[in-house]
């Protein structure tokens, strides 16, 4: 078979599409970034909805004092220090409604400081 420049270009194009397809198919799902604010004595937003299997990154900041963030059902927690953005990353592997809460005692309303992570299919 006579190999022309046109043939080579077409071959590279076919290979390129195949490679791109493979790369796209095997790429990790894009993570969902959610910004969460903590202050005495609430989280905002108080309810977060994500999908099962979708990587999540929570970027949490404190608007006043040191708080904590714990999501026991997914084994993640972090201190929330004022002046910084604290990140927790996880991929929910089950559906349902799960409580997250402040776990650094922060004052009179500490015990009410919680929210809900809603994981859907």
């Amino acid at each position: 078979m006579r190999i022309t420049l046109r043939t080579i270009v077409i071959a590279y194009a076919v290979i390129g599409v195949a490679v791109c397809t493979v790369v796209v198919c095997s790429a990790s799902p894009k993570e969902k970034v959610v910004k969460l604010a903590a202050k005495k004595f609430e989280f905002s937003p108080a309810e977060i909805t994500v999908k099962k299997g979708e990587p999540v990154v929570l970027e949490i900041n404190s608007e006043d004092v040191k708080h904590g963030f714990t999501l026991p059902d997914f084994g993640v927690r972090t201190d929330i220090n004022p002046g910084t953005v604290n990140r927790v990353a996880f991929t929910p592997d089950k559906t349902g409604r799960f409580t997250f809460a402040c776990d650094v005692f922060c004052g009179g309303g500490h015990e009410e400081m919680s929210g809900t992570l809603n994981v859907t299919e």
Partner: protein, 303 residues
């Protein structure tokens, strides 16, 4: 780890573990238990645990007698025909306030009220309401050390502080102190731990845990006869971590719901048809020879 119900605990009686009596109130106020003299002669004794008194709390829909509950509890303990060897308060003596002066006022008032107890040996420990906002400074001024130990009739009692650090952490320094303190105890000697928060992950979603509680439990595991009495969750609760029994006490201000039973943790509203329902204290009979503790849950009356 196993959640134990009452029947499971009763079965443990045959294994030399912990038993507890029915929650119907084994011993009526003012009544004596048969064999008291014999019990004393055998080195057995009893103590009373009161917890989560939250002096200073104000919420009529939750407790319209918030100024009276603690005083009634003191009167109930004083009316026991045989006084306990000592009384322990397992934390949250006062209700949270961010006002440091008010915190001290409440601690002083609490001290004055419980000063009426006939039993003159009282061991106090802090709860997060007392100590988490000032690292326990005010509590220590009134009641002394946050963590300590004492011995009573061959039983070694250890008070573990899991509240003065607002992250609910016992901490490396205290863990080292605990290891050192325990090194003096025989591995088969009776050991009682008094603390405020659960040392195990009872329900961390409601902050019912200790961040490094597993380290404390690991330090206790080599000891065969360990029992933990604690508060914080405002309800009677019994749980085993291996061979170690954990018993939570009721509050004397308001009950809280069972773990995870409702979406949000909040005080159980007052039941007008059943005043003081869910509130109470307990007496703990120690059978030192067999390292067994018989627990009787007591109520407070509306009188």
């Amino acid at each position: 780890m196993n959640k134990m119900d009452r029947r499971d605990f009763m079965k443990l009686a045959g294994l030399g573990g912990v038993v507890f009596a029915s929650g119907l109130g084994v011993r009526a106020v003012g009544a004596s238990k048969p064999g008291d003299e014999l019990r004393a002669a055998k080195g057995e004794f009893y103590f009373v645990q009161l917890s989560d008194t939250h002096w200073g709390f104000d919420g009529p829909s939750v407790n319209p007698d918030s100024q009276g509950s603690l005083k009634k509890a003191v009167a109930a303990v004083n009316s026991l025909e045989e006084q306990p060897d000592f009384v322990v308060f397992t934390g949250d003596l006062t209700h949270i306030t961010e006002d440091a002066r008010l915190r001290r006022d409440r601690l002083a008032q609490f001290r004055d009220i419980v000063g009426s107890l006939k039993a003159k040996t009282i061991h106090f420990m802090a709860g997060e309401h007392d100590a988490s906002l000032d690292r326990g400074d005010a509590f220590q001024d009134f009641f002394g050390r946050l963590n300590y130990s004492f011995d009573h009739k061959e039983v070694h009692f250890v008070v573990v502080d899991n509240v003065s650090d607002p992250s609910a952490t016992v901490g490396v320094k205290q863990l080292e102190w605990l290891q050192s303190d325990l090194s003096r105890v025989r591995k088969d000697g009776p050991l009682v731990v008094l603390t405020h928060r659960p040392l195990f992950d009872l329900y961390p979603q409601w902050d019912w845990s200790t961040r490094d509680g597993s380290a404390v439990i690991n330090a206790l595991m080599p000891y065969k006869n360990v029992t933990v009495f604690y508060g914080h969750i405002h309800q009677e609760h019994h749980f085993m971590t291996g061979h170690i029994a954990h018993h939570a006490a009721k509050s004397l201000m308001f009950p809280l719901p069972a773990p995870g039973s409702v979406p949000k943790r909040a005080p159980v509203p007052w039941d007008v048809s059943a005043p003081y329902k869910g509130l109470g204290f307990r007496d703990v009979e120690a059978d030192v020879r067999n390292a067994r503790y018989e627990i009787a849950e007591m109520t407070i009356s509306k009188a």
